[in-house]
């Protein structure tokens, strides 16, 4: 198979991406500084979306992207913020093209900041190809519909919201829940047809404690040069976060479509990313849509999430797991809401399940993997998988009703069937959903546990399972606990 032809050819002189490509004309006429924005005058011949280097007195370098060109006025968003800058003593060199990134296998095993500069004491990352960080839309006709399951070794995900190679499946959480633990467990354990994944982890606005945790948990992957870490901490420049996921995805696309790897991109926390977008929008005095977020947040998020996928006649895939915390647990907040409209399902974590001591605390009834129907079942995982999943969920919905009724009328007043549903709910949470933070379960084990839980129900309640499947998989009465 031939590598995918991606625009942006090698630049001739490899080197770190932030170094100047050539000496550029320096513009020094800065007219205005406002929030993250810098407005320069007398800047003729500058194109929209160009990348620029900003030289400060004293040798410090910052970087910016052109947001608007108005005659000779150019509006730049400064990635490292405008702290300490003044109207005088600034030189701006425009690069004549959008921001490009050196990509190559040299990124594997590296730890960088949110702008892609090394944090691990190594030299700047060099690459073999130069690609624009914003990427290009993939021709939808050339996409291969995702079909192969990704096994995470996490029962509740593998059984009920199967992740599929090339899918984008976010984790919706609230502050205080173990979403990072779940995300890193997926990153550490994910395999597809027995093959291990390359992982690109983009941290945006995470605390230093969280970052230390991620580095620690993914130590093995890092040592095996299967991991790229891009770390923007909570106290790092906010605007830099706009760049972090784009660098991650540009590297991921190279590893996937040129090198033929299966790549998993974890982006956490998307809420911090969206806040950076909002900050720029507010500084530009744009008319806000919902909750102060700009009207183009949907399109902006889509340019990130849509970079997942598979390509016809190519090896490799990009699977994206964005992690976001819902402010006040509100799923209708613009960030989870717009994300949910773009992604192919969602895994929702719930505080009340966490409070019951279940890890991972997935609210399975509000979770969904849209691609599961093509990625699970006969020929993909196991013949009974889809039916079992449907039955487990339907029974849980019924169990939830029974539990509510029990609250009102008391468990003693329930019918025998309703009581069996409550027993089932208990069993399914304890035996199937709950598992260790480093425990890797095989699919056989997972589905076996699902059947064991279903066995707590009277057989005539299992209406979604055919008699053939019941005969083959349902534990015999004698084997039941």
């Amino acid at each position: 198979m031939s590598p995918a032809a991606v625009p942006g050819s090698p630049d001739g002189a490899p080197g770190p991406w932030l170094r100047d490509i050539a000496a550029q004309v320096s513009h020094g006429d800065v007219r205005e500084l406002r929030g993250p924005l810098l407005i320069a005058g007398s800047a003729e011949g500058v194109g929209w979306d160009e990348f620029a280097t900003v030289d400060l007195d004293g040798g410090e370098q910052r970087h910016g992207l052109v947001l608007e060109v108005d005659r000779d006025l150019v509006t730049l968003q400064v990635l490292e913020s405008t702290d300490g800058m003044s109207l005088g003593g600034i030189g701006i060199r425009f690069q004549g093209r959008p921001l490009h990134l050196q990509v190559g296998t040299g990124w594997l095993g590296r730890v960088c900041n949110g702008r892609g500069e090394p944090l691990d004491g190594g030299p700047p990352v060099a690459g073999t190809d130069l690609r624009p960080v914003s990427g290009w839309p993939l021709n939808p006709v050339r996409r291969e519909p995702p079909q192969e399951p990704v096994l995470t070794g996490i029962s509740v995900i593998d059984a009920l919201t199967t992740l599929v190679r090339g899918q984008k499946l976010p984790i919706f959480s609230v502050p205080g829940l173990p979403h990072l633990t779940v995300a890193t467990q997926i990153a550490a354990q994910a395999t597809s047809s027995g093959q291990s994944f390359r992982v690109v982890f983009a941290a945006m606005g995470l605390t230093h404690a969280d970052i230390a945790y991620v580095r620690d948990r993914l130590e093995e992957r890092s040592a095996a040069e299967e991991l790229v870490l891009l770390l923007n901490a909570a106290d790092d420049p906010v605007i830099e976060r706009i760049l972090t996921p784009r660098i991650a995805l540009t590297v991921a696309e190279y590893l996937a479509y040129t090198e033929g790897h299966d790549v998993l991109v974890i982006m956490s926390d998307m809420t911090s990313y969206a806040e950076a977008v909002r900050e720029v929008s507010a500084a530009r005095r744009e008319i806000p849509a919902r909750r102060g977020y700009p009207g183009y947040l949907y399109s902006d998020l889509a340019t990130l999430y849509e970079r997942c996928g598979r390509i016809k006649d190519h090896d490799g895939s990009v699977t994206i797991v964005p992690v976001l915390t819902m402010p006040a647990g509100d799923i209708t907040h613009p960030v989870p809401d717009l994300t949910g409209y773009i992604t192919e399902g969602q895994i929702v974590l719930a505080p009340e399940i966490d409070a019951r001591g279940v890890y991972p605390p997935v609210d399975v009834l509000s979770s969904l993997s849209r691609l599961m129907r093509s990625g699970a079942g006969t020929g993909r995982t196991r013949e009974d998988h889809l039916d079992v999943a449907a039955q487990v969920l339907a029974a849980l919905a019924r169990a939830r009703q029974a539990a509510e009724l029990a609250e009102l009328v008391g468990a003693a007043a329930l019918s025998e069937t309703d009581r069996s549903y409550i027993a089932y709910q208990d069993m399914v949470e304890k035996e199937l959903f709950n598992q260790g933070q480093a425990e890797l379960r095989s699919l056989e084990d997972t589905l076996g546990r699902a059947w064991a839980a279903l066995a707590a129900l009277p057989e005539q309640e299992l209406t979604m399972l055919s008699t053939a499947l019941l005969a083959r998989y349902l534990p015999r009465q004698a084997d039941r606990p």
Binding site: V141, T332, Q346
Partner: protein, 582 residues
């Protein structure tokens, strides 16, 4: 589009994303297209003030500079329409994606000038006589396009007069001349402006239903041919799945599927699915009656705005040939967001939620392009419009949802609670409406099913009754209800799970014929009647509840897609089994 050379050119003065301002372009008209910069990016004129004009660009504007050339083209945004559209995928500006490169870079804009559709050869058969007078919409000849669709070559808009020359049967390319009318050359394909509705003779007032193959729609909320329907639903409510089912199974001649700001993987899935499925009516593949317009959420935003109009223009094009076309637009909210983003960049004063004040009129203009008409050529044909709405946060009071409701004949609201309990299609029976239901009932009565309206009324009453009782049962427990109410509760469940629920993935259940749908509903209603009779005779409700009514629920899966007889046989078996309880 011909480019008028030189003299009218202006220069770019401002670039902010898709918003571009130019200075000095002469004699511009509103909606006129311009070519911008060295790559000739197309942009449309949206405002003119003195020598300055505001444009919306249809491509990524990266690299455009102040001072770059802005060349007016003299034409409006239009699509080249001719044979070869069916089975193909286009972007929002009607450029073929099938022959486009893997990555949609700006460089592609230059190469797209010669789409491969132009190189294909067709067999033209004349169907008119030279020397006669012909007018817009008259048939000049035919081209076998694909599957069941014969492409009719019509006299283009604004042309009429003597047909002085007509080609004999021959092989031609789409841009070759096949006729001369009133001194004007007519070829197979003609450019057609997309923002103006194509003309027709008159709207028709009688109602004919569009059979969608989805029971909850056909039995409860039917849509008429030429009507407009809106499908609001939060994410995860199965909107796209339902629209795909309609694309696959509705009894239309031509489907135009517009993926407007939606997922790339989904478009790949639609394409894949339609390419594999057989069209039961023609024996060909479903893709052969489908035109896909894909402007995914990461493709340029203003082309997304155009894609809705491109799609409906393609449907009108086939309508004018005498076909019944259905346009499925997923999603109109993304289109409205594109309007909003541009209005904001342009500094327009916002109305609700930041949307521009003309949102409602824009939506009305879109939905009003639906219609069942007599074409200029004198045949009866229709364009049915089905628009998905993606309300932010599932909020049904947001502007796109509320405005859409005003302009459609059918509202199919998708309910999150139904979807979470895996009841698909999650069409809410309390939040939906079908304003043509009575007229559709009359049509059914005149076409062999006089019981249609009565059945629908009974089903609606049973659903309302069982919903009311379910709320009561949640408080006091079902066992405290009297027998006939417990049977009504049970009946509601049978109706929901046995009739309204439909498994899109099942070969037997994915599509449902009108006859099978009616038989399934009869089955449930008759079983409910029988159970009520039993309770009235003194049989305990518990006994009925413990009876295995699985055969009723499984009938939709067990009988073939159009096998009404098997469902009726099932009804007789179940009624017999209930007899025993007497």
């Amino acid at each position: 589009m011909e480019r008028i050379a030189g003299g009218r050119d202006g220069a770019i003065v401002r670039v902010s994303g898709p918003l571009v301002e130019v200075e000095g372009a002469k004699d511009l008209s509103m909606l006129e297209l311009l070519a911008l910069g060295p790559r000739s990016i197309s942009a449309e004129t949206v405002a003119i003030a003195g020598t300055r004009a505001t444009l919306q660009a249809y491509e990524y504007t990266g690299g455009l500079k102040a001072g770059d050339r802005a060349a007016p083209t003299g034409g409006q945004l239009s699509a080249l329409l001719g044979p070869g559209l069916l089975g193909q995928v286009f972007d929002g500006l009607m450029r073929p994606l099938s022959s486009a490169p893997l990555w949609l870079t700006p460089e592609r804009a230059e190469s797209a000038a010669e789409p491969t559709v132009l190189t294909r050869e067709w067999t033209f058969r004349p169907e008119a006589s030279t020397g006669t007078r012909v007018g817009t919409g008259d048939v000049l000849g035919t081209v076998p396009e694909s599957g069941a669709v014969v492409h009719r070559v019509l006299v283009p808009a604004g042309v009429s007069g003597e047909l002085s020359w007509l080609a004999a049967e021959c092989r031609v390319h789409v841009l070759d001349t096949v006729a001369v009318v009133d001194g004007r050359n007519v070829s197979l394909a003609e450019p057609c402006p997309v923002r103006r509705p194509r003309p027709f003779r008159s709207r028709l007032s009688d109602t004919v239903p569009l059979h969608t193959g989805q029971r909850v729609l056909d039995l409860m909320f039917p849509v008429a041919r030429g009507a407009a329907a809106a499908v609001p639903g939060g994410f995860g409510t199965g909107k796209t799945m339902m629209l795909q089912q309609i694309a696959k199974w509705s009894d239309a001649d031509v489907i135009v599927y517009v993926g407007c700001g939606e997922r790339g993987n989904e478009m790949a899935d639609v394409l894949d699915g339609l390419s594999q499925l057989e069209d039961g009516r023609t024996g060909g593949k479903l893709i052969d009656r489908t035109v896909i317009i894909a402007n995914t959420s990461n493709m340029p935003m203003m082309a997304r705005e155009a894609s809705i109009f491109t799609g409906i223009t393609v449907a009108e094009y086939y309508r004018d040939m005498g076909y019944n076309a259905v346009v499925i637009a997923d999603s109109t909210s993304r289109w409205a967001e594109a309007l909003r983003e541009f209005a904001n960049r342009n500094g327009d004063l916002p109305a609700e939620e930041g949307y521009p004040a003309n949102l409602a009129s824009e939506l009305a203009a879109f939905y009003e392009r639906a219609g069942r008409v007599t074409t200029l050529g004198g045949t009866t044909a229709s364009v049915t419009v089905i628009g998905a709405v993606s309300p932010p946060g599932g909020d049904m009071t947001e502007p796109v949802t509320t405005d859409s409701q005003r302009f459609v004949r059918c509202l199919w609201t998708l309910d999150r609670d139904l979807a979470y309990s895996r009841h698909y299609p999650a069409v809410s029976w309390t939040g939906s409406f079908a304003r043509d239901a009575d007229a559709v009932g009359s049509w059914h009565a005149a076409n062999g099913d006089p019981g249609w309206a009565g059945r629908r009324a009974r089903a609606a009453a049973l659903l309302a009754e069982s919903d009311r009782l379910a709320e009561l049962a949640d408080i006091i427990g079902a066992s405290s209800l009297p027998g006939h109410e417990r049977v009504a509760l049970l009946g509601g469940r049978l109706l929901r799970d046995g009739v309204l629920m439909q498994n899109a993935l099942s070969p037997n259940d994915g599509f449902c014929s009108a006859g099978k749908g009616a038989a399934l509903l009869d089955l449930v209603l008759d079983v409910v009647d029988a159970c009520q009779a039993l309770v009235a005779r003194g049989v305990a409700a518990t006994t009925i509840e413990q009876t295995d009514l699985g055969p009723v629920l499984r009938a939709r899966e067990d009988a073939g897609p159009a096998d009404a007889a098997a469902v009726r046989a099932r009804r007789d078996e179940v009624l017999k089994a209930l007899e025993v309880l007497r």
